[in-house]
């Protein structure tokens, strides 16, 4: 059968019918767009809220993927003592966690504690040797000093810590009670820090046991001596036997003592120290009453501390202050108090308590513990440094008016918390590192607080200072992601598990740790509740929802590429990103 041209041939330049011979990629539909999506990692609010400056979001993400070692490494880069902070920190991170707007904040402290405990399970590493020739002296082995020593050792410096007390740890060892922070755990935590090659000398008070001139041999000095001078309660006959500073009482108990308190103890104050005193007194067998001159709402103590104290049976009298001691046989027998009412706000913003005339009343007491606050002892500082009544004058990184001396912790102007102390120690280490390297002839930019800190308000991260972030980021900007810029449709509600606790009955039997945290599985589950705000965790929803197949996986698995030749700029990827890790921009168009 003879035929003409085979049907599949082109004749007059066309096939016989409109049959395709190419795909549509030749159409550069990317020219349609007037805005374009970019991956732009931002900062999770917990990172900004953490006074230590930990990349919480990053370690939560590692845990979600089951990478525990990586999570631990990220945590230990910034926080030398997570087993401690997971127990005693007041977790401001949780107060700003975006998830609180969805169902409940992630229980970050429980996860940190679990990680910290895991880190302690590993045997301590053999001590490292310094890689740099410079030596730094750290005065005080509280959280500020230990943090500064920790980061300096990681930067390669040889560090010697001078501690006045017989045991290292500062307020952690001597102030916070055993039932909140077991001392053997603290000792193991400090041992792990020491394994970086840090020398800690105890019973070595600088200015007494060790002369100040001995510090001239060091290239830099960090002062983290804290505040130990208990403030006077301000009542008459405060020198009556039976009235003593609360901090001194706690120190005695923490060093093994079991002082005789008598049947009834009164604690004056509203902070954590007051709660520590009260609950310790209970465990020593006394009935305890806390007097606080304002109301429950104004108490500076953390909610958990107050609730646990109440649960354990500590009595409270709010809007009450002691006026004078009543004694019998030369010892305290009672406290005459006066009722207060709240007047105008004072400098701190809280309403000033005003005594109500004629409202005096007396409570019986065998011991009164003063816990209204502590002040610094500048006399012990050999150096001539600018200071006011309460704090040394320092710049943002802790450098004092003597360029060789930096300071941190309760002795500088910041809230008196363990977390803030850890954060200050880190900032000082960065400042010391910058100065010493510059003096050694290296080209080093002055540390830029805005660039090194998380968001506008967070603490600096050593990782940014060192520039060795193991987390791959996309176009990172130092801005915090608010909840409104997340897409909560891609999450499901999951309740928080509360920390396990000893029963009140069991707690009061002694000084065993009361809060047992979460089981390891529940802690890992809790980490999975983290939204991973602001940082791409490769959930691929952008890729899945792109109508133009314009998003592809990078072969190395570190993220995604956008094909701008075909991306039409619809913005679906950005709208659906659960964690606000993208942005739409006119840049580049």
């Amino acid at each position: 059968m003879s035929r003409g041209a085979p049907i599949t041939d082109r004749v007059h330049g066309v096939p016989p019918v409109a049959v395709s011979d190419s795909d549509t990629t030749v159409n550069r539909t990317g020219s349609w767009k007037y805005i374009r999506p970019v991956y732009r990692d931002r900062v999770a609010p917990c990172n900004e809220g953490c006074p230590v400056g930990i990349d919480i979001e990053a370690y939560m993400n590692e845990l979600r993927e089951g990478r525990v070692d990586a999570a631990l490494a990220l945590l230990l880069r910034e926080n030398p003592m997570p087993a401690v902070t997971g127990r005693v920190c007041y977790h401001p991170c949780e107060s700003v966690c975006n998830r609180r707007n969805y169902d409940e904040s992630v229980s970050i402290h429980a996860v940190e504690r679990a990680l910290g405990d895991m880190a302690l399970e590993a045997p301590p590493a053999p001590p490292e040797t310094p890689t740099r020739k410079e030596r730094v002296a750290v005065i005080g082995s509280g959280p500020a000093g230990l943090a500064c020593a920790f980061h300096l050792a990681r930067f390669g410096y040889g560090v010697t810590v001078f501690e006045a007390a017989p045991e290292p740890g500062g307020i952690l060892r001597l102030g916070i009670p055993e039932y909140r922070l077991p001392k053997d755990l603290l000792a193991r935590e400090i041992a792990r820090i020491q394994s970086l090659g840090i020398t800690i000398k105890t019973n070595a008070r600088v200015g007494a046991d060790v002369p100040w001139t001995a510090l001239d041999a060091f290239d830099a000095v960090f002062v983290g001596t804290g505040v130990h001078r208990s403030l006077s309660v301000g009542m008459e006959s405060e020198d009556t036997p039976g009235i003593r500073p609360g901090l001194g009482f706690l120190q005695e108990v923490n060093l093994g003592g079991r002082p005789e308190l008598g049947r009834r103890v009164v604690v004056v104050g509203g902070g954590n120290t007051a709660m520590d005193c009260a609950r310790t007194a209970l465990r020593l067998g006394s009935e305890t009453l806390v007097l606080y001159r304002r109301t429950r709402a104004e108490m500076p103590a953390t909610d958990e501390e107050v609730e646990e104290a109440q649960a354990e049976g500590v009595q409270f009298q709010f809007l009450a202050a002691p006026v004078r001691a009543k004694s019998k046989d030369g010892r305290l027998s009672g406290v005459e108090c006066i009722r207060m009412k709240l007047g105008e706000a004072d400098a701190s913003g809280r309403r000033r308590p005003v005594p109500i005339p004629g409202s005096e009343f007396t409570v019986p007491a065998d011991t009164l513990l003063g816990a209204i606050g502590e002040g610094p002892d500048f006399e012990a500082l050999g150096a001539d440094l600018d200071h006011d009544d309460w704090t040394l004058a320092t710049d943002a990184f802790g450098t004092t008016t003597d360029a060789r001396i930096t300071a941190g912790g309760d002795i500088i102007d910041q809230p008196h918390t363990v977390a803030h102390a850890l954060g200050a120690g880190k900032r000082a280490a960065v400042a010391i590192d910058a100065r010493l390297r510059r003096e050694a002839g290296e080209t080093v930019d002055a540390p830029d607080l805005a660039a090194l800190r998380y968001g506008r308000l967070g603490n600096v991260t050593a990782t940014r200072w060192r520039g060795d972030d193991p987390v791959v980021r996309n176009g990172a900007v130092n801005k915090v992601v608010p909840y409104e810029e997340l897409n909560p449709a891609h999450f499901t509600p999951v309740r928080v598990h509360p920390d396990r606790r000893l029963s009140v009955e069991r707690s009061l039997e002694g000084f065993d740790e009361v809060n047992l945290g979460l089981t390891r599985e529940l802690a890992m589950a809790e980490a999975r509740r983290c939204f991973n705000c602001g940082v791409c965790n490769r959930c691929e929803l952008c890729l899945i929802f792109c109508p133009d197949v314009a998003i592809s996986r990078r072969p190395d698995g570190t993220g995604f590429e956008i094909d701008y030749d075909h991306c039409k700029g619809c913005g679906l990827c950005n709208a659906e990103c659960p964690r606000g890790a993208m942005a739409m921009t006119r840049e580049g168009l």
Binding site: M1, S2, R3, G4, P6, I7, T8, V11, H12, G13, V14, P15, P16, V17, A18, V19, S20, D21
Partner: protein, 387 residues
Amino acid sequence: MKKVIVGNHAVAKGAQLARVEVISAYPITPQTQIVEELSELCADGKLAAKFIKVESEHSAMAACIGASAVGARAFTATSAQGLALMHELLHWAAGGRHPVVMADVNRAMAPGWSIWTDQNDSLSQRDTGWIQLYCETNQEVLDTTIQAFKLAETVDLPVMVILDAFFLSHTSEPVDIPEQDLVDGFLPRREARLKLDVDDPRAFGALARPDVYMEMRLRQQEAMEEARRVMVEVDAEWKQLTGRGYGPIECYRTEDAKLLLVTSGTMTSTARFVVNELRDRDEKVGLVKVKMFRPFPTDDLRRVLAGVPRVAVLDRNISPGHGGIFAEEIRSALYDLPPAERPPLHGYVLGLGGRDVTPEVIRDVVVRSLESPAASEREDLWVGVNS
């Protein structure tokens, strides 16, 4: 083997022998026996085809197109309203170059309802790009149905096999039914070159802009032109195998004719009878039967009609506002003949709505043609109507 069968069964037989693979069918009088017979053949396992009992003629053609696009041999049958309903898709089958074969039982278009024969239904579709083959006998119906598949699949155009309602569809005639082996040798399994194929995925029928559409239509036109030649070759091959061939046109006793009648469909048989009668009386009247209407056998008709003293075209159809369609198309085909050779052509519209075209009617046409002035009358004469 000879059997006496009605035209509809001849169609069915042809489709069966051609081993159609997909049949989609919707019933309409007078086509129904085609689909009934095919349905039985499939049910009895005598025909290994998929039978889709579609819910309308439009879907029938859509299903054929779909099947054909995948590369199968597809078939359907219809009539009048059903054919009209398919109109959109007739364009699609032809423009899509699908070798679908369809039997159309010529039936008059409504309103008023009519189940009887005329040619308006098929001729209304003459611009859709289908090859149109008009049959005179049930034998021709069977032979043409089988040939249609070969023709269609050679030029990749759809073919309409056309038979008169009742006069063929429901009338029994002796038909020589070829053996399956013979047909298999003549018509192998379809091997489509361009088809939907998961191993070579392409899109068919996408937006064709002005810069390519014309060329595709030109290719379609060129395929139609090739079909003239292929139809003849297929017919010749069939004649060799069976002794029966038809050609695009047939000249019957046309030598020295003073008048040639031009007919199509069953009235051709009646016309033969009258021609024989006249020739017996030494009246030199002859007959040209047109089988293939699309592609139009222009050269053949010019050849046989040039210089003929008079031509009478009998149209069992009307294009309202113009004339009988065969007549118009033949006039147009003859236009380019040198004026001296252009025959005077009289057009006659008759037999609409199944009105019988009897020998009396044809005699009447002959008389009128011979008695009218030499010049052609442009107005077609309607024959057999009440005045």
